[in-house]
Amino acid sequence: MITLQNISKTFDTAGGPLHAVSYASLHIQQGDIYGLIGFSGAGKSTLLRTINLLERPDEGSVIVEGQDLTKLSVRELRKKRLSIGMIFQHFNLLNNLNVYDNVSFPLEIAKVSKAERKQRIENCLEMVGLLDKAKAFPAKLSGGQKQRVAIARALANNPKILLCDEPTSSVDPQTTGSILAALQEINRKLGITIVIVTHEMNVINAICNKVAVMEQGQIVEKFDLREKNIVPQSNIAQFLFKNEIVLAGEREVQYA
């Protein structure tokens, strides 16, 4: 479904070149919920953003459904982006448009007729349980509701892939649950492939079937979480996996 081959991306910053991603390769299959985990600055968001070329990699190829996106013209790329939805940490809704018009936005870009837009907007809002908020403006919604509007917006053009850039990092833990549940439902019901960037192991454990661990711009390890015995080799992966166990242990002691 998605193949990233030897992706590298360097940013010119005031403090010199920053190697955000170095020779990262990844293969994501149809129907996966693929997690990309790492700490701040590990390059996971940059890598995710190369999948729809919001960041154009300096090297490497981005192959989505057999097409190398880096070789497409600007026009072809825009068309391709219609089939790749994306949600963000800070939701990035248009604050001056109500919920209905926000979901309408990608459909207008795709030149969908008004009657069909209405149908699809209502379907998408129903799917995320916010049909009753259609006339509300984003400022009046909670973080979780905003993210679900963003999900509805990302789904409006019936994408095959949904990219999630830290979708739960600015909401409280309860809301995280509702957002992850919505993502899982989308994956199961609509068969949409999901790639999710996070720094929380909880998120990975809750919905991902595969995960790649990133550190300093490189993918250090990949796991298929359906396997029984996962033995992390790298320090970072050990830390991430162990961190979780330690927390659970502490909790048991406290309540004993």
Partner: protein
């Protein structure tokens, strides 16, 4: 005491009409040209959407150049150009030429700044949905910036009410001309006082209306 005011009243009304005539010509033209100009400034800035660094350098320089003229000096300096355009350098219509020339880059700078304040994440989102640059400007930037633009129009209107008085110095008519003749040459403090009251009321009305529209347009809070 009111004799002076009653005597000057018809002229005061005439002066106000001239001032509003100048504003009604200046502000819409400044908005119509300043908005695309400011948008182009924003789009061609370093690290923005269009990588035209030389174009930006030139445009930015021109905007700064026009902005660096004190208004009275601009008015006098472009008299030949004004004559060429409207056939005379006297009267309210002639006065609007330097006003428009001054207002366009002024308003463009406002637009550039307002667009810079639009959250880049929303632009990212629109790009991820396959929007082209024109759609991003029209549907994203202007939608998110609309209350800021309304606010800028209010500020520019109030500023140019003030600038229009400078026109009075060089035969442009309007409220400035009136103030010079009655307040400065004739020392009619009472007429001056009434004029000031009227101006204060107008500025308050502009600002009140502007703020009202801004509040209507702004759904961010």
């Amino acid at each position: 005491m009111l004799d002076n005011v009653i005597y000057a009243w018809p002229e005061l009304v005439q002066a106000l009409i001239e001032t509003f005539y100048m504003l009604i010509l200046t502000i819409p033209i400044a908005v119509a040209i300043g908005t695309p100009l400011g948008t182009i400034l924003f789009l061609t800035r370093p690290d923005s959407f269009l990588k035209w660094p030389k174009f930006y350098l030139i445009l930015n320089g021109v905007v700064n150049l026009v902005r660096s003229f004190p208004f009275l000096i601009l008015m006098i300096a472009i008299i030949p150009f004004t004559r060429l355009l409207v056939g005379t350098a006297l009267g309210s219509t002639a006065a609007t030429i330097p006003m428009i020339i001054n207002a366009i880059p002024y308003f463009a700078r406002f637009i550039e700044q307002i667009l810079l304040d639009v959250n880049r994440g929303v632009v990212d989102a629109a790009e991820s949905m396959g929007a082209n640059k024109l759609q991003i400007v029209w549907k994203v930037l202007y939608t998110e910036a609309r209350s800021g633009i309304a606010n800028a129009i209010t500020i520019v209107t109030v500023s140019f009410l003030s600038y229009s008085t400078v026109a009075g110095l060089v035969g442009g008519g309007g409220i400035g001309d009136f103030a010079i003749r009655y307040g400065y040459y004739r020392y009619q403090t009472d007429v001056m006082f009434v004029t000031i009251i009227i101006m204060v009321l107008f500025v308050q009305a502009f600002q009140f209306t502007g703020n009202f529209i801004v509040r209507k347009l702004d759904k961010r809070l």
